[in-house]
């Protein structure tokens, strides 16, 4: 039993430090992020007033950066809850310091995923028509349901695992007491409460996995359900899910690298964590390559003219820089870094992750835009280059995401205090017990 009310914090006091003390670096970061966010808002207001004509989009290529961001952000969301849930379900003990940080990415980034679609709407004032006049045959409705469910489930998942830490803050922080008192919902760490908490977390962890898989599957269906060349493909569901986990792990490693550095959590987010996540990222790198190969080789071998026209525009045509950039950032750079133990360091995995993030954004772009050149139709030379409005809104989205993430770390511990403590106090013996069950129970040597 862990009775938090009467334990001392000494050991993990550093985890609460960002909440109790705020340095100059934080204010500098917040100022820059706020400025960029405000700039993004200004750009959106311009678009809202004048219409989507201020973007580089056209009658021909009518989806661009915003829809790319939508798929990218939803992809990143798999960082979190899915990875944390899978690690919890499989009882991977090394998960303890990273779950919170992963779950938080999910919850925040989902708002930006949904937001990107709303930014792309011609009549955002009518967005609720999607619910009022819902037409369930449309894959967009499947997205609404699936993402809505995911947002709810992952918010609950994040919150439930946060409750014991809020209780710790209520008892130790000495400030914002009223806030923590409300949010802690009377949690005192009694045996019954703890059991209930564990049960809820275990249930949510299992629930969240199929929901997460469905989310990126239906996002891919937005494209795969059309009869457009190189979109209408059965591989899109699994391909998008794999890509989402790929970019999700990368986002997680990157966030952990930054948190470790700025909050001096070297003792918590250790090289071993980066190594383990690095191996997962390596697996996803290879899986990504496999899916990409499968996608392209079926197109090439089929030689359908409409498909080939899109294919060549990607491989040697207008979109070649994006496609080969994607290949470089998603595969050629991360693969060698992640393959060797020597380079699978904190810095190494962080670099590989940065590369994967860039690569996966390009991948989304390369999936969406070239198909819209619509080779079936011939409509004049296709060209799309995002304008300052699109770049500004994109910068605003990224800045605001980091801003919210940063603000969270000022209110709640980004490394789960109670889970660390539980690991130390309980799991050591539990793990030894579990290990015994893996081994032959009697001496079988005679």
């Amino acid at each position: 039993m862990l009775n938090i009310r009467h334990t001392k914090l000494e050991e993990d006091a550093i985890l609460l430090r960002p909440i109790l003390r705020t340095g100059k670096a934080f204010y500098v970061a917040v100022t820059i992020l706020s400025a960029l966010t405000l700039w993004g808002i200004y750009a959106y207001l311009t678009q809202y007033r004048t219409g989507l004509g201020v973007t580089g989009l056209s009658r021909q290529i009518f989806w661009g950066v915003y829809i790319t961001n939508f798929v990218f952000f939803i992809g990143i969301s798999h960082a979190g809850t899915l990875i944390s849930a899978v690690l919890r379900v499989t009882k991977a003990e090394w998960r303890r310091p990273i779950t919170r940080c992963a779950e938080l990415i999910t919850v925040i980034v989902l708002f930006f995923g949904v937001g990107s679609v709303l930014i792309d709407l011609g009549r955002p004032d009518r967005m609720l028509y999607v619910i009022r006049y819902a037409q369930f045959q449309s894959p967009l409705l499947w997205d609404v349901i699936s993402i809505g469910l995911y947002l709810m489930a992952s918010s609950i998942y994040l919150y439930v695992a946060l409750v014991p830490d809020i209780a710790i803050l209520r008892d130790h922080a000495g400030r914002r007491g009223w806030l923590y008192r409300i949010l802690a919902v009377g949690y005192a760490g009694t045996e019954q409460q703890h059991r209930r908490l564990e049960k809820t977390i275990a249930f949510m962890a299992v629930l969240v996995i199929p929901v997460a898989v469905s989310v990126h599957t239906v996002v891919s269906f937005v494209f795969a359900m059309t009869i457009q060349p190189m979109w209408h493909s059965a591989i899109f569901g699994p391909y998008f899910v794999a890509g989402a986990i790929f970019s999700g792990i990368a986002a997680l490693i990157l966030a952990m690298g930054l948190i470790r550095r700025f909050y001096h959590l070297e003792e918590y987010l250790k090289p071993i964590h980066f190594n383990n996540l690095g191996i997962l990222l390596l697996v996803m790198t290879l899986l990504w390559f496999y899916f990409t190969l499968a996608e392209y080789i079926t197109v090439i071998y089929g030689r359908e003219p409409v498909q080939m026209a899109i294919f060549w525009s990607k491989v040697t045509g207008t979109y070649a820089p994006y496609l080969w950039g994607m290949f470089l950032f998603c595969f050629l750079i991360p693969l060698p870094i992640l393959s060797f133990r020597k380079t699978r360091t904190v810095l190494g995995t962080s670099l590989a992750s940065t590369s994967v993030m860039i690569g996966m954004w390009l991948e989304r772009f390369v999936i969406i835009v070239p198909t819209l050149t619509r080779q079936r139709l011939v409509m004049g030379p296709p060209s799309y280059w995002p304008t300052w409005v699109e770049w500004s809104i994109m910068a605003g989205c990224f800045s605001f995401f980091i801003f919210l993430y940063l603000m969270f770390t000022k209110f709640f511990p980004i490394v789960s205090v109670w889970e660390m403590r539980e690991g130390r106090e309980k799991s050591m013996t539990e793990f030894a017990e579990r290990l015994k069950t893996y081994l032959p129970s009697k001496d079988v040597s005679h």
Partner: protein, 257 residues
């Protein structure tokens, strides 16, 4: 039975959940027919279709009568350049619209000649399936309609249409309309629009504006269900083409080559 706080919450929760079932069911089960548009009259048994006699169309070079008539009647704005262009009926080079035809064997210059394109009003319209709000739907007479007041501007129908028949209002179109026809609604920025087979004229017993405007009688319009109609006779004893029939959308615009 002791009523603990926990149990009370449980009961309250389940009660709330139970009470919300009915309203939720109402939301999802309500079959909402699209609001009847004032210009969409009932003509249930008909099946409207159009035929384009390409050779007749080419007999006057550079003629754009049908396009002008349509765009004038429907308040279609004329934007400079292809980026924000809005078009209900337009032309593309023949060789490109029917790219599967062997162009080496065509008469010289034929591949470059203009072919009239418009919404195909497919029997099996993909755009209708993609629309998340039923802003686009199919009437019983086959005409694929657009409700400009319900469109949220997601452009998914544009992604779904394999013919590029749909245009989006990238900005307020009104300043770009040469002369506003008060009989037909103008659109706002941020909505999709396309050819409506002149439902507003059909309701008055008139033929579509483009068909009426064509001096060469290259456009034939009528009801496919009526064996005596001109369109049936035109399509009867000849080989006709549709755009991309392999997609299974069953276009109702036919081409006589």
């Amino acid at each position: 039975m002791e009523l603990t706080r926990r149990r009370l919450f449980k009961i309250a929760g389940f009660t709330l959940l139970g009470l919300s079932v009915k309203p939720a069911l109402d939301v999802f089960s309500k079959v909402e027919l699209p609001e009847p548009s004032p210009i969409a009259g009932p003509s249930a048994v008909k099946r409207w279709a159009m035929a384009v006699d390409v050779k007749k169309c080419w007999s006057i070079e550079g003629c754009t009568d049908c396009i002008d008539a349509c765009h004038r009647v429907h308040n279609v704005p004329s934007f400079p350049g292809p980026k924000e262009e809005i078009k209900w009926i337009w032309t593309v080079p023949f060789g490109k619209a029917f790219a599967e035809h062997d162009q080496d064997l065509m008469e010289e210059g034929e591949a470059e000649k203009p072919l009239v394109l418009l919404c195909n009003h497919c029997d099996n319209p993909p755009c209708v399936r993609y629309c998340p709000t039923k802003a686009t739907w199919q009437r019983e007479d086959g005409i694929v309609m657009m409700d400009f007041h319900r469109c949220i501007g997601c452009r998914y129908c544009m992604a779904g249409c394999p013919y590029g028949s749909r245009s989006f209002n990238w900005r307020d179109p009104r300043p770009f309309i040469k002369k506003i026809n008060p009989e037909f609604p103008t659109r706002t920025k941020g909505v999709v629009e396309k050819c409506n087979f002149c439902v507003e004229r059909l309701a008055q017993g008139l033929i579509p504006a483009c068909v009426e405007a064509c001096k060469e009688k290259a456009l034939v319009f009528g009801d496919l269900k009526n064996p005596a109609s001109e369109i049936r006779k035109t399509l009867q004893d000849t080989i006709v083409y549709q755009r991309q029939p392999e997609l299974g959308t069953k276009p109702n615009v036919y081409y006589l080559l």
